[in-house]
Amino acid sequence: MLELRHLTKSYANGRRVLNDVSYSLAAGEFVAVMGDSGVGKSTLLNLIAGLDAPDAGAIMVDGVDIAALDDNAATRLRRARMGFVFQAFHVLPHLNLQQNVALPLLLNGADLSRAGSMLEAVGLGGRGADFPHQLSGGELQRVAIARALVHRPALVLADEPTGNLDPDTAQQILRVLRDELRSTGASAIMVTHSHAAAATADRVLILSQTGLHAA
């Protein structure tokens, strides 16, 4: 469903971050990506999301090279096919939980009813009218997971989703993420520093100067 072909990426300062990265992600597959800080994990996710363009190589999402699309087309692809979870949660502060989770449905013009059941699925049933500032970090990340999956994306990109959480909460969050991935059948790439977190994935890959390889 996702195929990375010989990706290279350098930033303006000339430093080469990604070097000949290739990988083929099967539908429903959940991989964890590990690697040293600053090696280019977030950059890789940005490229896959179409937020940045590689210097060379191709990123095939369902047979379409997202790197070759213009901004509007890439945005539409992202909107319909991808979901995101971030280390810093990134929940809109002035929308309530129900509205935050419903955002992707709104953007895709879909029926909003799934937002409620999604909140329930991540253990926040009945709190849809609450606002983000009333939640703990773990709860905020559950909201983010619900939001990432509510529109049944084909691919979820998670950048250190447990980086800001204590180990117990992190384990809960990972269980929720896994269960929801399984029930929606989405593939996922999760960047993480934690071996415990990586262990919940189907496969673990290491990103290094020489590319992306199995651990």
Partner: protein, 837 residues
């Protein structure tokens, strides 16, 4: 469906979280729109009433023949009445009758009742049923309701009016039912008017109705050719354009001032929107990541601004209407400007003007949102998601070139000539300088505070303040824009008004050299002093010398208001002693010299040394412009000539005014007492130069009262801006402050930081604002005023006033920062740190 709902969620979420911010922006727009709309409503109400009154005087006439002077010889009348193509001709004598004890005159129109009945039915009096011939009686006058109320009289009573140095008594025989509300008017038989007011054999105008089928324009052209400019032929359109030009510069000036308030409001919307977009930078980035396209994001931010603008503009239209109604009730139609005397307009909602001002308010808000919206949509989402990238959003603001370019264009525009007699390029230059100045602020703030940062200090709070101002100049500058805009405009207006006032004061001292002034009446053109009376005045003991003055009017251009014609004793070689000359040339002794006001040079091209022709008593007379003098009293032009020349050319020996020089040992009071003892002395008006000066300056101040008011509003909007931007910035920095509180900085210290930042920024804004305001005042004084009012003046800076306002503004800004800071800091410290954005 989804997208519209998202729009609503986002807008509503933002407004619910920061209702004050939204409210300030709405109010700022509303205030600007309200002022602009109100002034437009008042002006057009006054102007419409004024022209309606003029039209009702013209009645059904197709054309009107008018003299170049207030009256002309009635022997022209038969020639006009019998001319081929003329169906009817109605002769009229129009007088401004001086009323004893009143400062304004009563307009009286003498008509031939039989002809007026069909041509100008509004000008026919209603006689009592038992006295049907009163309309022809030689002692009867018919008064409009407003005139009756003003003179406190009613039908059957007598009223007193001045004719020459005597008083005539007329019987109020009836009313003028079709007079307009507020219109002060009297009508009498034309023969009676000529006789009673010493105008035997004279007319002011003849109204013509043409036979059906006659080509109006061709007839007008042929008649004008035959009359050779000794008389003028006018259409009602000419009359309208004349009355329009009377007050046009004044109206435009007021409208521009109102636009200034709107502009300041625009700036406020820009700064609040910009700061709010910057604060939400990472939220917008998240939306972009989740699949919102650039265009959609742009629309979202524009929608927010547009909604604020639409709300504010709607509120402003309603408020403007209420404001106009209130102002008309309490200040009258001319807002103290003196351009629409006696007019009582009725306010009418003007849909087109309302639409224009609504659109302006909306456009201003959209423009204010456009730049931040564009930046938000363009920002690379992945980077914008990280916090701390706010200042990069403003980096582009630091390029000085667009700002310098705007200012350069503004500079070039100051050299451009007026458009349609209005200083449009000058006004645009002012706007460009302002915008350029504001746009230059981020760069300037950065430069100044980076330099200050170099000053070594061991005090951590000072260091915190300076480093923030130096490293986030873009955000600081946005907070400053409001102060800068309103303060520079305030400085410009204050310098302009002070320059004008000082110049007028000096000028008054120069044009009032005599010890005592006498006038035949406070206003009107029916009072005068004949030769014998002049001799009696000159022969009064204690009076060394008398300078008699004949004031009259000359119509040089049918489309323009009349020019003042002043005849007095002027010695060619020492003209500068009686006239405030700015230019003079030698004139051959055998030519008739005239001295013209600066407006004559601008409007009619009467340059020094030029030979020009003046239409006097039905003849063209060649005269030479011997000099140009400064005149702050008449913006439509004035001509002075020697009394001897005037009498020789016109045969008119009467005078209106006189300046008296007294022998040493005679006090003004003694001289006035002796003059009052003369047979006609009690009817005259006496004044010492000091009194005239005081009254003139009072009128001056009153006519600028609206200006001060509009200025005050601009400053209040500016302070609004300071409040809104400071509180927005403090909100955006809640996390940083929470962190400071965590590491042991006290609440007081945080507030001290905010006060210092606010104070330093305001100081900086005022310093730049002063320079900018000074430059703008140069444009107002040396470009806008000469072009619109033909007033040239010397620059005078009112340091005391400026220092006071600056101090008040500084205090207000610091207080505003403190209040905004207190409320922003009232939330819990823990939450401030936890909240990610």
């Amino acid at each position: 469906m989804g997208w519209g709902k998202l729009n609503r969620w986002l807008v509503w979420g933002e407004w619910r979280a920061y209702p004050l911010r939204a409210l300030t922006a709405v109010l700022a727009i509303a205030l600007g729109v309200a002022l602009g709309f109100a002034i437009d409503l008042i002006n057009s109400a006054a102007y419409n009433e004024f022209s309606a009154a003029a039209r009702s005087l013209a009645g059904q006439a197709d054309l009107e023949v008018r003299g170049t002077q207030p009256t002309f010889d009635e022997r022209v009348y038969p020639m006009l009445a019998t001319r081929a193509g003329v169906a009817q001709a109605s002769p009229m004598l129009e007088l401004e009758a001086s009323v004893p004890g009143q400062t304004s005159a009563l307009k009286i129109i003498g008509v031939d009742v039989l002809r007026a009945a069909s041509m100008t039915p509004d000008l026919v009096g209603v006689a009592a049923a038992d006295k049907p011939f009163d309309t022809l009686a030689d002692d009867a006058i018919f008064l409009s309701p407003a005139a009756m109320a003003w003179l406190n009289t009613r039908v059957g009573q007598q009223i007193q009016l001045r004719a020459g140095s005597r008083v005539v008594s007329l019987r109020v025989a009836g009313g003028l039912v079709r007079a307009r509300t507020g219109q002060r008017l009297g009508v009498m038989d034309i023969g009676a008017a000529q006789w009673r007011f010493n105008r035997v054999g004279q007319l002011s105008r003849v109204a013509l109705k043409l036979t059906e089928g006659v080509n109006l324009l061709a007839f007008k052209q042929a008649l004008a050719n035959d009359l050779q400019g000794r008389l003028q032929v006018l259409q009602s359109a000419d009359e309208t354009s004349r009355s329009a030009s009377l007050s046009r510069a004044y109206r435009v000036n007021l409208n521009v001032l109102a636009l200034v308030a709107l502009f300041t409001g625009a700036f406020l919307v820009f700064s609040t929107q910009a700061l709010s977009v910057i604060r939400r930078r990472s939220q917008f980035a998240l939306l972009r990541v989740m699949g919102v396209t650039r265009a959609q994001l742009l629309r979202q931010v524009a929608l927010e601004g547009g909604l604020l603008g639409a709300l504010g503009a709607a509120l402003g239209i309603a408020g403007g209407y209420a404001l106009a109604a209130t102002a008309l009730r309490f200040f009258g139609a001319d807002l103290g400007g003196g351009y629409f005397p006696g007019v009582q307009p009725t306010l009418q909602f003007a849909p087109i003007s309302a639409g224009v001002f609504f659109a302006l308010g909306l456009a201003v808000a959209l423009l204010g949102s456009a730049v931040p919206a564009w930046e938000a949509a363009r920002a690379p989402a992945a980077q914008a998601l990280k916090s701390g990238s706010e200042e990069t959003a403003l980096n582009r603001l630091a390029t000085p070139w667009p700002a310098l370019g705007l200012m350069a264009i503004g500079g070039v525009l100051t050299l451009a000539p007026p458009i349609g007699n209005l200083p449009i390029p000058g006004y645009i230059a002012v706007a460009l300088l302002l915008i350029g100045g504001i746009a230059l602020m981020p760069r300037l703030v950065g430069l100044v505070f980076q330099a200050l940062q170099g000053v070594p200090t061991r005090r951590p709070l000072v260091m915190l303040v300076l480093s923030r101002l130096a490293n986030a100049p873009g955000q600081a500058a946005i907070a400053l824009g409001g102060v800068l805009a309103s303060f520079s405009l305030m400085v410009a207006m204050a310098i302009m008004v002070a320059s004008f006032r000082v110049s007028v004061d000096d000028w008054l001292a120069q044009v009032l050299p005599a010890d005592v002034y006498i006038r035949s009446a406070a206003s009107g053109n029916t009072a005068a002093l004949a030769l014998a009376e002049q001799a009696q005045i000159a022969g009064t003991p204690g009076i060394a010398r008398v300078d008699f003055l004949r004031l009259s009017q000359l119509n040089l251009d049918p489309a323009r208001p009349a020019v003042a014609l002043i005849a007095r004793n002027v010695d060619v070689s020492t003209a500068e002693r009686v006239l405030p000359l700015v230019q003079a040339v030698a004139v051959p002794a055998d030519r008739v010299p005239i001295w013209v006001s600066e407006a004559m040079v601008d409007l009619y091209g009467f340059t020094p040394g030029k030979t020009v022709r003046l239409p006097l008593v039905g003849q063209w007379r060649a005269v030479v412009v011997a000099g140009v003098w400064r005149d702050y009293a008449r913006q439509f032009g004035a001509i002075q000539m020697r009394l001897g020349d005037y009498r020789r050319l016109t045969g008119d020996t009467a005078v209106n005014d006189a300046g008296l020089w007294l022998h040493a040992g005679t006090t003004p009071a003694q001289a006035i007492a002796r003059l009052k003892a003369l047979p006609f002395g009690a009817a005259l008006e006496y004044a010492e130069p000091g009194e005239i000066r005081a009254v003139s300056l009072k009128i001056f101040d009153r006519s600028f009262a609206v200006t001060y008011l509009l200025e005050a509003v601009a400053i209040v909007i500016g302070l609004f801006g300071v409040a809104a931007t400071f509180s927005a910035q403090i909100l955006a920095r809640a996390k940083a402050f929470g962190m400071l509180r965590h590491i042991g900085v006290t609440r007081r210290q945080v507030l001290a930081i905010l006060a210092a930042e606010g104070g330093l920024l305001t100081l900086m804004g005022m310093a730049v604002g002063f320079v900018l305001g000074w430059v703008i005042s140069l444009i107002l004084v040396f470009v806008v005023n000469p072009q619109s009012f033909h007033w040239r003046m010397q620059l005078h800076v009112p340091w005391g006033l400026l220092a006071t306002v600056a101090a008040a503004l500084l205090l207000a800004a610091v207080l505003t920062a403190l209040i905004a800071g207190r409320s922003a800091l009232s939330g819990s410290v823990v939450r401030a740190v936890k909240e990610d954005w």
